[in-house]
Point group: C2
Chain length 598, copies 2
Amino acid sequence: MRHDPLVDFSKSPHAAVRPVPLSAVTLTGGFWGRRESLNRDVGIPHGRRMLEDTGSFEAFDIAAGTSHAPLRGFVYRDSDVYKWLEAAGFAGVDAEDIIAKVARAQGEDGYVNTSFANENAHKRFSNLASDHEIYCAGHLMQAAVAHHRTTGETSLLDTATKFANYLYEQFGPDGTVGACGHPEAEMALIELYRVTGDDNYLTLAHRFIEARGRGVLSGREYVQDHLPFLDQHEAVGHAVRALYLYVGAADYYLESGDQRYLSTLNKLWDDVQKKTYITGGIGARHEGEAFGEAFELPNARAYAETCAAIASMMWNWRLFAISADPKYLDTIERAMYNGFLSGMSEDGKSYFYVNPLASNGNHVRKEWYDCACCPPNIYRTLASIRGMLFATDDKGIYCNFYDNCRIDDGNYSLEMITDYPASGSIRIVNHVDSHYELVLRIPSWVERATVRYNGMEQAAQPGRFFRVRKQWLHGDRVDLELEMKPARIFANPRITDSRDCVALTRGLLVYCIETADNSGIPIADLAIDPRAPIQEDSSAEAPRLQFEGLIGQPGESLYSAESPATASARPTVTAIPYFAWANREPGEMKVWLPVAEP
Amino acid sequence: MRHDPLVDFSKSPHAAVRPVPLSAVTLTGGFWGRRESLNRDVGIPHGRRMLEDTGSFEAFDIAAGTSHAPLRGFVYRDSDVYKWLEAAGFAGVDAEDIIAKVARAQGEDGYVNTSFANENAHKRFSNLASDHEIYCAGHLMQAAVAHHRTTGETSLLDTATKFANYLYEQFGPDGTVGACGHPEAEMALIELYRVTGDDNYLTLAHRFIEARGRGVLSGREYVQDHLPFLDQHEAVGHAVRALYLYVGAADYYLESGDQRYLSTLNKLWDDVQKKTYITGGIGARHEGEAFGEAFELPNARAYAETCAAIASMMWNWRLFAISADPKYLDTIERAMYNGFLSGMSEDGKSYFYVNPLASNGNHVRKEWYDCACCPPNIYRTLASIRGMLFATDDKGIYCNFYDNCRIDDGNYSLEMITDYPASGSIRIVNHVDSHYELVLRIPSWVERATVRYNGMEQAAQPGRFFRVRKQWLHGDRVDLELEMKPARIFANPRITDSRDCVALTRGLLVYCIETADNSGIPIADLAIDPRAPIQEDSSAEAPRLQFEGLIGQPGESLYSAESPATASARPTVTAIPYFAWANREPGEMKVWLPVAEP
């Protein structure tokens, strides 16, 4: 059994649970299994072609002096390559040729960055706030750790540690105080520390976190430099940068147990809960790709970058590691099945950078982006999502998320049989004779959950873990039934853009109305009687929902002394899961439906 | 009588009306008269100090070589100085020392721009999309025209024509195809043509308009380079830039009669009507200071730059000149009393760049901005607003807007006595013996309007002109009564942020609720029963409104399976005119009130 967890908090002194090896978990063709395959067979190869076509691989040849082509792309292009390499590592896709390119581009001193090679070498570390050098280094380390854990090879790890050592010379205790305008290296260095045992990396990660708010990064909220980290109690600025910083800080807490870090993380988490879309999307503002104020969650103008949903999953995974609190898993699940998954098309070859909750038909996927951060971030997430399905502690094993899968980690051997989220029926079959606690997460969204085992049926409490501690025998089964039915969720009236609106959900899935299923219906003018019955069909992965809609008559004028006319038509409307939108011809879409009286 | 109209379309072949001289109109202490005085006595001197303190005047000394201080401010700092000079010209404030500085900074070739002098001279016209050189030149021309018209002096006009001649050499028929990323010079050149009679300036203005969409300005919507001007049928990109371009195009139509221009302008106007706040604010998006989609009008995140409201007034003034259609005056009035006037504090010394329609208390005025376009734009507008109160044609005189004033232009001598907008009672007294048509604008917002003269009372139709054609005798009076009462205006439901909301208005004034009048009331949670009676008090310039509000209980969670709780309290709420907000301690504010059942 290889020791290859997604994030290795297995020896972290302040972790409440331990991760399981990626190699211990096999997805067997369920919801995420299908996506893991698509990602490996289509997504990652597509990404390779795009990185090839955009000159991102070639940049390393230019840096190594083996190509004299003009450099293309943004200053942070290396990070796209590294995220792709990390995905390849998790997915078992061969990428040795690219790893070799990276190694050849590395200087004797350990520095490697294609934007600051050759004639640009004199600009190294001259603009920490904007140049993304340490950010790129962090992604190199993450790729190296993934490659090393899943293959046992040290080729990329050697490159990464050389660079990390160079960074330690520059910014460690004997160097200058600095950090990167885009956090990322903090979490990466801590993972490198976990792999290598070299505590210089932990020290450096801590220095990077503590460097903020000290005047070395422009002082702007955009780069989380407005305050020292421990004084940052509100989530502001660029959402992905902020969340990556919080991830690193959570990793630092896992190793250090510094209670001030935990206190800050808890305050930030509470604040982010006032700034999160129902889809798990984060980062309301286009301007500055930033968090808005509390309750500032516009729908059509949502930013909700795919990378921010991923960062939220990463952060909540570590917060769960710290606390074993299922609320963090609820948060991951919301993003994972909705605002993260919407980021990739069903064919795996086109993507969203921005994930709005309403569209007039102009928002369409692209096969790649000039700023290509999101696609490879999706690849690495899908390639490793199985690493979050389980966790363990001294007493037993946690079933965090439900999908068709097996786990065999040497201690536990379980089979999970389900078509979740199409239904909430989950059968778990034990294949070892052992005394342990089987811990089942009961999602907070469920109204009724029952667990059957040993011929008994017990109600389980939503938002809690249900624990079955017993002597397990080979073949023992537990049947979990999570009631899965259509529901109407009301928005807090302070979310002005969704005031007096409902969103349709079914279990963990948020639904939306799209033109492709509703031709001829002006979706912008669609409302719903909150008492209207909602039917579900039995389509593939997740049922579609149907209800009788109400079509308003908004008229032409923006402002009128007359109250708007009531509904003029009552068409049958079909809703699909939000994650599945924008896979057919472009059209209108919306999640939130105004409540109207028929 | 000096010939000093605000915009001189008096000889334009395609104008339906003629402007009156600024010197013919005297504001006599009414609504705008008080602001004209405040602007002259406080605002313009304050602006002078700020321009001094920020090094904007000194930049001309640096360019002239008489100072060696470091250059401060943005690349377009000259335009702030020129707008201030234009205001000084209209207001009769002495600025000869500054005019002399500008002249000394001018090169032999006529070029003057403090950002491209001395060691930066080689960069001239190297980045038309971003460097604002032609934009600054346009503001110089407008300042020069104002100074010349109001003083008869030619000092600044000589500087401006020399620069204009240089621009004609560079970009005229014998030069290259170019234009500025920030339109402005188009309208300015046409005014210079009107003053000098030199039709090179008209030719050059036309070339600048026609240069768009030809690939010389990056092709971006941001700078209106996405399409040739005549193909631009939707208002997109940076709102002020777009509107300034439309102003220049309207000026070009006034001179040329090119019907394609009129057709394009009409399409753009119709589109802008779907993108205008109830306050007359324009430009919904912070990102790119841009127009949003139709109906995209967020309240707290409104951009609604003060300069855009001003640009809208400038554009509609020319569209009125073209058509004599009162709808353009309605549009001006809406902006003038609401989203423009909100841009300046009651003491004349602090300003808004951004004019949101809701605030959590964080939006506060500043005494100046690093990007200082708005304050001097306010100065020049307030200093010349009297120029839009009247217009004439062959048959008579139009009363466009109502304020305490006199006009004596040699043909007409009228006195207007009113406390508009506190009341809608307007008395107009004629002081000449003459046969002419008195044309009264009946605003579209009024429900009932009556006109009394010759002992008769007649109803007048809203949104039309009411014409009194007769032999006038000295002392003849007309009394116009515009019913002025509180009203509730509903937003089109497609404006999702204001869906199911009402705004309170009284006549032309839009009202808002501010913490300063409503201590202890959580304004974010305030709703209104649309049938609740609205009282008005008799405070100074405009009554305050009072009604019984309904306070919702939004709860903490963003999303809930339960519909939000109904009102928990019914406080008496006071509303004030939107233009008057943010003049006391900072607090919450909102214009749109959700409709609720008590």
